[in-house]
């Protein structure tokens, strides 16, 4: 159940196209910056297989120059820490 967030940089002049193309993909939410050519992509694939399919589709988007991941999480409640004990 992976959830990832990325900074998505479009090719020059391609911000609107990229936003439309990413929004059209399954399990994708897009938050465009108002004042810069940059978008945030949050992906929420239901399982590993869907995640792999999504990755394949992302690689084929021509208006996308680069993706940098800022967050990754598999939605299993992790054992939370109590730092004072360590």
């Amino acid at each position: 159940m992976p959830i990832f967030a990325y900074l998505a940089i479009p090719v020059e002049g391609g911000k609107d196209t990229l936003a439309a193309e990413l929004t059209a993909l399954p399990h994708c939410e897009v938050i465009p910056a108002d004042n810069k050519d940059i978008l945030i992509l949050v992906t929420d694939a239901p399982d590993e297989k869907a995640e792999r399919n999504l990755q394949n589709k992302l690689q084929k988007i021509s208006s996308l120059q680069s993706l940098s991941m800022t967050f990754g999480c598999s939605d299993q409640p992790e054992k939370e820490r109590g730092d004072h004990e360590s």
Binding site: I3, I31, A33, I40, D44, D75, E80, H84
Partner: protein, 772 residues
Amino acid sequence: MNLDRRSFLKCAAACSAMAAAGSIFPGISFADWKKQEGASGMITWKKAPCRFCGTGCGVLVGVSGDRAVAVKGDPNCSVNKGLCCVKGYHSVQALYGADRITTAKVKRDGKMVEVPIKEALDIVAAKIKETIDKHGKNSVAIYGSGQWTIPDGYVASKLFKGCLGTNNVEANARLCMSSAVTGFMTSFGIDEPMGCYEDIDHANVFITWGNNMAEMHPVLFSRILANRKRRKDVEIIDFATRSTRSSQASDKSILFKPQTDLAVANAICHEIIRNNWVNWDFVNKHVSFHKGKTNIGYGLEDKFQFADQEEPLTFDQYKAFLDDYTPEKVEKISGVPARDIKYMAALYGDPIKKVTSFWCMGMNQHTRGTWINNLVYNIHLLVGKISTPGSGPFSLTGQPSACGTVREVGTLTHALPHGGVANAEDRAMAEKIWDLPAGSIDPKPTYHTVEMFRALDRGDIRFIWIQVTNPMVTLPKLKRYREGALKEDRFVVVSDVYPTPTTDVADVILPAAMWIEKEGLFGNSERRTQHWEQIVPPPGEAMSDTWQIIEVARRLGFEKQFPWSETEYIGKIWEEYRRFHEGPKHNMAPYTVLKERSGVQWPFVNGKETRWRFNPVYDPACDKGRDFHFYGQKDNRAWIWARPYEPAAESPDKEYNFWLNTGRVIEHWHTGSMTMRVPVLYNAVPSSYVEIHPDDAADLGVVNGEMVKIISRRGSVTMPASILGRGVPPRGQVFVPFFDERYLINEVTLDAFCPISKQPDYKKCAVKLEKA
């Protein structure tokens, strides 16, 4: 619940991407996110100030059901206009660490056992009574925080100073802001900055004095960078003891040897006078000259006493005092090239340029903290660059309500909500508003923070109640104070949200409601009071710190002074407190106005906020017909002080041959008790470290990540080395962030303080290093 968790994670994911984008592209905005949340229909947004630093960014907290799931910057808040830093974006996750304290605990047979909170409050009240009966009123104390809400601090002061008659009230802002207060009081006769953040949009030159704004006040620093990008005539000078992210982003980085900022500030004034850059019209009308005592000590001994003695000076005497501070002489003391001193003087002296100076802990945590505050004011006063948009000295605050709760409410031993305990009129005012018999308040201050914990160690104090702070990580020369707190016949009550080294020494632990789990008010660096309502319920039996104090006060028989109901107490307390500040110099906004807005700046007079004080165009307290009016001092002038350079309490020698400097990193808030429980922040900086210059590291034979033992005359700590990391100290200096309780750097630091402000110097002591 599954859906909530997923939604929460997606919000966290989006927030982390926004934070990353914000650090790469200052000024980037994602206002369109609002449309996204509308699609889900799950999240409602409520305003609050950020939980963490003194910048006081307005945030909108996204709530789904009973849970806070997201944060975004509040576009309606003038402080941050929709931006946040990485701590702010992840702040709500700090509510949900797995080990939140949700029940009260008391020590029985050496073990902490859970009890209903009502029983714990009974024990606290009984213990206060028993201790006073046995040892007198000054054997009980409360130690709070610049993270106390305004009502928290107000009821603490009312109970202890008013009802119990002891001035044993202190707050951790003594450790971060008291030199700023004494700086303002001695130079202007009244506390808190004359300017506001809007200065950033007008200034041409920013000079940061020992202040790594890029990490400590990142949203304000982004605003400076955005201004530099937008306007061509903006320059940033980073004047510091080590290279940081702020140095990298500045136009010029100037390094000085620790403590010698005193000499450099005087040299800048020397140059301003030598070049006749003095604004004579301003100086003749609005400035007077003064000197105080010298060789004033360092407060290292118990019961240290100091009282300054002011003497007037003429301008010529002041000018002669500066003869010792030519740029060439000061270059030898400070290591700052004379040409760089002259360059800074020329920036301040240029009549066309608007100059804003910023500082925070570098100048305040200083054994001559009051003096260095005075000296930077001197520079601005000589050239008349003050109290006008873009020109002014600006003392930044570290904590979200150091100004609102500690400085304005007066939660320090000598202070009251209006004025001080030593002043009969101020005492009478408090006794009247608090409905107490005349003579209830003791006219003598007792212990400032370091001395309070020394008194606990000595046994002069037997009971202490600690709220919203973690002194068993933050006190300097920590070992003495931890051992003192653990002595027999000491009783320590701690109200907090997570287990810490301070709850480890507690006899009673009270579970506290945190931030948006209760209604509250903070006051930020620019005189802005910020209200928030309760947004989510507190966990278990957690209770607001204010209500804990009210419950104890009632058990002690003070129902009349604490009559409010649980549904309306914050509004009632605010309206009572506001009476202390009536008048054009400090009038505060009514509760109803604060509830509506993202903060209101005082003085709030006739429905208008005051952005620049002492300037009659903006400040209603000024006499009409003047161009400026420094109404705080009895001569209606701002005071320039002749304050010399004096060395640090402890400097490196042959054996202890390094300077130790301590501080913070952007990802963690203070002792890390909250931010170390936020996965994104923890993963970003999971452990503290010691920054070492690469040549010193090579001499020691350590590489990045290897363990280094830092040893002082007081203790030692062993931690990983950071070489050419985000901060690089010069040779002979090391820097350690204090957020990590696994590496208690304050075992090593020295409890020397400024004799005027009583604020300890966490930036300078002597250590030696060994490869571990």
